[in-house]
Every structure is written in C-alpha cells, then in structure tokens.
Symmetry: C2
Subunit: 542 residues, 2 copies
C-alpha cells in the first residue's frame, strides 16, 4: 500500500525557487576576475538562471545533455549551474588545474556539447579546443564590454546569451533521479572517472548539510565559500545556501590570506569552508598584520586532514571554532563531520581536541563501516582499522559511462579507498589510503601514523613511509626522510626515537635519507613517485 502524500520530486530547481519566494533579497557577493566585488541576490539569480535555461533550450539543449563549466566561485557560475540543471541538462564542472591531456580526455568522455568558461581560463580552452570532439560552442562568463578576442568556436558572451532567453520556461517536472551534475575524480590508476549526481542526491545532501550536527547554518549566516564549485560539489553549499537563505560570499580567483581576510571582515562572514592550505595562508596573514576575526564563528575544514596547529590557533587566538569534515567526490561530498558530542563535552580541551581532529561522525543519510581484506566487519573500538565502506542516497553506485565496472559490493557498500578506525562513539578517523597501508604478516601498518611519529624527530623536515616487498611478511615499511637544512641524523637515531612511540613490529626495516621528497600537484608527497624511485631497494632485513 502506498502512502497518500503528494508526488513532489526533489529537484534542485525547487531550491532556487524556494529562495526566490522566501528570501529573494539575501545576497550573493562575488569577487570578479579583475578583483572587483559585485552583489546580487537569490531573486536576481533565479530570474537570470531561468533566462539562461530559456536561451539554452532555444539553441537546442535537451534533457541529459552535458554542459561543461570552468569557472571560479561567483554568481554567474551559480546561475549557470541552476540554468543548466533546471532543464534537466547536466552541469559538468572542470578543475582548471588539470593537465591538458586529462582535460581533453574528460571533456570528450563526458561529451560536453556546450562549455561555459570564465575569462581567466579562455586561453586554456583555446589551446585544446581542436581536440574536443563534442563541444559545439563556448560561452564566456563576462560582461559584453569584457568579451575578449577569442578563437573559441561559436564563442558567445554570457550576457548576450542571456538576452536570447525569455522569462517563461518550465523548470523541473522530471524525475528526481535525473542526472544533474558531473564531476570527474582522479583515480590513482587509469583515467579520471565521472561521478554523476542526481537531483535527489544533491537535494538530500543540501538538507543534510544545513542540519545542526552538520554545518549548522541558517538564514542569519553569511558564508565565505572558498571550496571551489569544481571540487566535490562545493561541499553542497551552492545548494544549501539558497535553500536556507544564507548570504553567500564567493572569492573568485583570489584565495590568498589578504583577500580572504578582506572578504571575511568586509562582509562580516560568520562561517567559511575551505581546505587546510587556505587557512594556513589566512593565519599567516593575520599573524603578520595583527588582524582579528570578530564576525567569524566557525570554519569548516576538509579536503585533507586538518593539522592540530590550525585548530588550536583558530580556537585560542581567534575564538573561531574549527569543524573537521570528511568526504569525497563520490559522497556528494559530506561523509562525516566532527563535533563535540554530549558524551565528551566534559573532557579537558586537549582530549576534546583529539576527537575534533578525527574526521567525525556520519549524518543520517550516510551509513559507514570498516572491514578487513575479507570484507569482514571490524569492531568500532577506535583501534581496529580497515577499509572504510559507505552507503547512502548521495553516494555513487557507478561511474559515468560504466568506467571501472561494478563499484559496489554485494551489500551495496562503496569502498572509499581510505583506511580508517571508528571509535565507540562513532568518530571515524582516517589512518591511511588503502593503497598506502603496509600489509605485514596479515596485519596492517598505517603509513600515516608512522610518518606522523617520525616527524617528531628534531631533524626531520618531512617523512614518508612506503611498503616494500618482503619474502616472509609480504610487506615491510621503509621510512624515507628529508632532513631539515643543515641537520644531520642517523637511521639509528630514528629507530631509537620511534622505539617508545610505536608498536615494536611497526619499526621500519630501513631508514633512508633523500635531499627532497617528490610532491604531487596538490602539494602532497607523491607515494607513486616514491614507489617508483625505491622499487629496486632491497630491505636489509631480507
């Protein structure tokens, strides 16, 4: 028997329509490519996004068409999202920092037939457009008088395209499972794979993100959204903000400490969301200038683990609460949020901090467990660590075009590729990436834990641990150290330093020193390169 409730599909157009009706004058403030700041409202964004939809339909866009965007966080980019999604086309966001070959692969694989590009990125697209097999025309996100000379085929200025549209257009009116957004994620092997969001997944995630145990935001907040709209669904904020009528401040291309501070202070932002690097730059700026953050209540940090020092400095020096979160492109992206639960509220600061440094607890729409290599569920005791598996309505069930084949196990769990512990109170902590964990004698050694321990050595500038083959134990750890300038150390001094900090069987078999550790494009140590570099190293314990 079916319930007798209305058929009201969870489509993202309803989010902006809700904003248009209920909080049309809440603001969206954007830093433009030229550094200037423009202001608009959800009411205006709604009207303009609908004109964009109308113009696209007139030019032939249909349900299911993929449309690419390469743009900063700004109001036009937001209009583009809703204009595309409202008519059931798929908004495909691209990271401008991608290697040109990956860019070409991704656009062709997605089959984008229109491409929206911010002024800054016109040269990137000009350079590859001859290799793009599906793009029919390009739209440049600028005013008419900013329109550059460009070789982009069919190039049209965004404002001119809008002028082709009418006010009257049907939005929504399709199933909530209709595809809505597309974002490629770089696997460690093979080509990037496309995560295809549905209207339903994005709407449920937007509701979830607002909840008090997640981001805890409402219409009284002003949010500086630093996390890029091309990165993991902008942590749902592009949907949550209009849903709850929160003012949204977008930094455009300027994410240095000074620019971020100017927006936080000038727009009286109460909350912000970004990766740790951004916060490091901001804290450095504050340190230099002596500026404070009187309006900011909370910052959400994700993307990579938040260093303890950032959390402590925000707390103690600026009175800003840091909330640690974890997610990935495949999880839309909110997987966990770390807040102080009542069970630990009485603990001293340092102990609470250890909980806050964990990645946190899942919201209602995320199920989570850890399993061993045989897919046997492991206990939530804060010690056992295993593959982190997730399940939920906003988690991928496959990649675009079926790439990578079946990605769920028999019970519909998605393997995150992370290795984690979950403690008695449900706080999850990432301990490693699956590919980096060292499997020694059937037990796992966390490369990250070992690295963190070794980093305490006074001579260590940076450390990395990889597993190398071992005839008896399968794999054993190799510790690779870059020393601080002018410092010296012996392998034995590292062994001695580690001896009271790790389990005995975790002790690295060898310690080697290098002049410089290799880094990937996001600034992380590249273990891929290290594995290549040390592939012929024979452990001295063999």
């Amino acid at each position: 028997m079916q319930g007798m409730m209305q058929d009201w599909q969870l489509t993202t157009d309803r989010i902006l329509r809700h904003a248009k009706i209920n909080h049309p004058n809440r603001q969206v403030i954007s830093r433009q490519v030229d550094g200037s700041i423009t202001r608009t409202t959800y009411g205006e964004i709604y009207d303009r996004a609908r004109k964009l939809s109308s113009a696209l339909v007139k030019r032939g866009t249909k349900l299911g068409d993929r449309i690419g965007t390469m743009a900063w966080n700004n109001a036009r980019h937001m209009e583009t999202w809703y204009g595309i999604m409202g008519i059931g086309a798929v908004c495909h966001t691209l990271n401008p920092r991608l290697h040109r070959d990956q860019l070409v692969y991704i656009i062709n694989h997605a089959g984008d037939n229109i491409f929206f590009v911010d002024l800054s990125f016109v040269p990137i697209l000009e350079a590859v457009q001859d290799e793009l097999t599906s793009v029919e025309y390009f739209v440049v996100l600028c005013d008419a008088d900013q329109m550059p000379e460009t070789s982009l085929r069919g190039a049209v200025c965004y404002e001119d395209l809008l002028a082709e549209g009418e006010d009257d257009i049907t939005w929504g009116d399709f199933d909530e499972n209709t595809a809505c957004g597309l974002c490629y994620t770089s696997g460690t092997t093979g080509n990037p794979k496309g995560v295809l969001y549905s209207h339903r997944s994005n709407t449920l995630m937007a509701m979830t993100a607002a909840m008090p145990d997640a981001m805890n935001i409402n219409g009284k907040d002003t949010c500086l959204m630093v996390v890029p709209m091309f990165h993991a669904n902008a942590w749902a904020l592009t949907f949550t903000a209009p849903m709850i009528g929160m003012n949204l401040v977008m930094p455009g291309p300027m994410m240095d400490g000074k620019s971020i501070y100017e927006l936080l202070d000038g727009e009286k932002c109460t909350i912000s969301a970004a990766v740790p690097t951004v916060w490091l730059m901001l804290l450095n700026h504050l340190e230099t200038t002596g500026n404070k953050l009187p309006h900011l209540n909370e910052v959400l940090i994700g993307g990579s683990a938040c260093p303890r020092a950032i959390m402590e400095t925000f707390d103690k020096k600026y009175g800003v609460n840091v909330v640690h979160a974890w997610g990935m492109t495949e999880t839309s992206p909110l997987g966990t949020v770390s807040r102080i639960e009542p069970e630990i509220a009485h603990l001293p600061y340092e102990e609470k901090l250890s909980y806050r440094l964990k990645q946190g607890r899942p919201p209602f729409i995320v199920e989570m467990c850890i399993v061993d290599d045989d897919n046997k569920e492991l206990p939530c005791d804060g010690k056992a660590f295993g593959k982190l598996m997730v399940r939920g309505p906003a988690i991928s069930n496959a990649y675009f075009g079926g790439e990578g084949g079946e990605i769920l196990d028999g019970e519909h769990w998605f393997d995150t590729g992370d290795v984690a512990t979950i403690d008695e109170l449900g706080y999850m902590q990432i301990t490693d990436r699956s590919k980096d964990v060292i499997k020694s004698g059937g037990e796992w050694i966390s490369s990250i834990d070992l690295e963190n321990a070794a980093m305490g050595h006074p001579a260590a500038a940076e450390c990395a641990v990889i597993g190398l083959p071992h005839p008896k134990w399968d794999e054993r750890p190799l510790l690779i150290v870059q020393l601080k300038e002018g410092m010296e150390a012996t392998p034995d001094s590292f062994r001695e330093f580690l001896s009271d900090k790790i389990a005995k069987w975790w002790m690295p078999d060898d310690v080697v020193f290098v002049a410089e550790l290799p880094h990937g494009p996001t600034g992380k140590v590249s273990k891929l390169d290290l594995r290549e570099q040390f592939k012929d190293h024979v452990l001295s314990t063999i």
Copy 2:
C-alpha cells in the same frame, strides 16, 4: 539520463537503525501510567522494536496491514511505531478522547486488524470491541505483572508478545512511498478522514524538523515531547529525535503544570513542544511555586495560535524563547515556523513580537500561497487574506479510502481550510478558518480579527463572530458576547468601542449577549453550535 547514485530508500526503519549505530546510549525517558519514570535507550528500543516486528510477522502481519494504537507518549509506544513500520505495516494512532461512535467508525474504516492499547484505555476498547469488525487481537502495553483481567479478544501482554519474536528480521527493503502511518482528522462536515503518511514523507519531515530554521535541535538537546503521538504525527519528533540522537522525555498521562515542571527540571530538558493549554498550566504552576526554568532554552508552540501573554511571560520572566509553528495532520505536520529573520533582527521587542506571533515561514519542503475564491493568487503584502494553499512531499494528496474525493486543485495545491495573510518577508498569519470567514459584498471579513478587537472591551469575557445571511451583502457579521460576571454593557457600547479599531464596513450588524458561549471538546468556541443557535436570527439591518 539518470544520476549514478545509490538506490537508498528513505524508510523510517533507517532512522532507528542510524540511532542504534551512532547514538545507541541516548536516552528515552517515559512517565508510566502509574506515575513512575522508566529509562531506556535508542539501542534498546531498536532491539525491542525488531523483536516486535518478528513477533507480528510470525502471527501473520503483512505489508500494508493497518495496526491501531491508543497510547500515551512513552517508550513502548515508540517501539510499537517502529516495530509496525519496519515491516511495512501501517501504524494507525487514535486519540483516546474521541467519541465512542467516531472511534468505532475510524477503526472499522481503517480496517485495523491488531490494536495496541495502554493500560489507561483498556476500558474504552472493551466498551466498543463488539462493534469492531476487523480487529483480530489486542495487545496491552504493560509488564506481565501489570496485565489486567480483560474481556478484550485475544488480549496479549506486550512483553509476552515481544517474547515470541526473534532478533533476526528484515526491516525496510520496500519502496519509500509505502504507507507507514495513519491518522484521522475530524472534518467539520462528514466523517473523520484518514491521512496516510508514507515512509518518504515522514523521513523528509524528520530531516526538515531538525534544521536550524525549523526546530533547531541536535544530539546535545533533551526534548520533552508533550504533543501526543496520536496528534498530527507528534510534530515529527518521534522520527527526528532518534535521527539526531536527541534525548526524548515523554510525559505519559500526566500533563498538569506540576508534572511537566518536574520533568523539565529533573531531566534538564532544553526544548519542549506542546499546545498553548499545556504552557498555560505550566506558567500557572511556576507562578504559584516560584520555580524557574534554568535548563529550558526553547518551547515550540502550535496546535492553536499562541497568546501574546504566554510568549511575553516565557521571554521576560523565564528567559525561554517561544517559537510559534503551524501545521495540520495533512501537512505531517510542519507547515511554518516563526523565527526572527535577519531583516527584522534590529526591530524593538514589541515589533519583533508581532512577527513571532504570526505563524511563520515555510521550510524548503513546503510551498505556500494564498488565493481568492476564484483561485487567483493574492499578493504577499501582509494585508490581503485568502485561502491558504500548500504543496509538498509531506502533504496529503487524498484521504484513506478515497473519502472526500479529489482534494488537490489542478496545480496540485491542497486547500488547508485556513484563511491567512503572507507578508513581504514571507511570514504567514492565520486570520480565520475558511468556514468562519464572513463574505460581505465580495470582500472577506475575518471573524477572528473582529473577535480579538471586541475582546478589548472592558466588559467582554469571551466573544464570537459568525456570518448571517444578508440579502444585499450575502453575509454580515453578528457579534455574540459573553460578559464578565457582574458586568453590564450595551450593543452600542461595543459599536463605539470598535469604531476606531476596525474598518467601517466590518462593523457587526448586531451585537447580542449570551449567558455562556458553547465550547467544543478542545476548548475552542463551537461556531457550529452558534450557527445552529442563531440560524433564525434576522439581522436588524435587513
């Protein structure tokens, strides 16, 4: 094109499962029928609800079966809800204050084949059971040693039934649109009609209720849920509380001021939800005893309009924020919540209070508009008032068994039967019930506004306004007054009193005095009785 996100149905069993995994030790505290207080946890409720499901399945319960409950708010009642819903049967809550004929009609109409009854209500069911055509057996919600001698057919003690169940049972695994709850609402004409909730509607409403712009609750809160579980879905709290891990305190049968105070104070409740009458009783108790409310942050008031005095007293004397909300059985029930939006945050107290006394603004999943008699949308200017129409995924599209026929208009709007204004900031205010509004010369006169104005007259104890037929104007208002004991007044003194308070054409054609106004079972003036009583009154203006 469909998104590539997991098929994860929004079924209510997932809510309790989430609680079992993520906050198993959060408490549910119940006042029993004998006044004692028992404590359990979501973990235990989950285990016991599953045993109940198993026992029901063993005894033959199938997907879609309706199962009645007549019980106070307590942990066993909560287990019963989840035990029934988890296997796709329909939990049908009944109000013990119903007239016995209505009770019989409703149980037979629903076709309940099992009936769960609290100790207090065994006699009520015994008295009507011979007329119940579908109920196969009764379950008494008590311990084995409390089991009464009863003539109820097939009577089984709840704990004995539980003992028949196993731990292993499949929950969920059906479509989220499956029926889940049933609650009859008394129309003004004809028989009561059944609102049939789905798993989807209840789950979406539970997520919505937790959001900062709605109830703003999380796992750090302890909620005294006074609103009965048989009343308008208990304002979603039976679902929201386990979803967010909020401690839940349930008053059982004792809702007097002293008992409510004891729970608020003893359990350190931070939030509570009830109709105005409960709060009046509490405030009287506090006034008498001098007790304070140091733990309570917020009370949610709905069910009928919150009097200004209640809001002011809570604010000024007890430092408790009153949040006014509106909804109905057909809206699952949250329709609007009245909170201070940033646009009015700077206003002086009295002006903010006028906004807070409105019924408030809709959450994302509720669409709302006002229309005139021709279904033409009226402006949101805070002045125009019209029929309040709502739309959304947790709003009825029909009544159980098709009673009442088509209830949505061509654009899927549901007519709430209320008449309201909506202001420029989106705050809705109920001005009347559709059936009570007076239609004079094509314009509407709010009977409630007239009553409130007349109540200011120093001699008025209570006032009611009804419309009577008029050959020229269709309808004109009759003001009916019950004077304060020992007071006298003339019709002219009321006309004079009203003259500078209402539009000239709103002036009642006649003013009549009665010894006592008739009241319905919920304490409201019965306009149905008044219309009957004055059906032969001929207005003096004819």
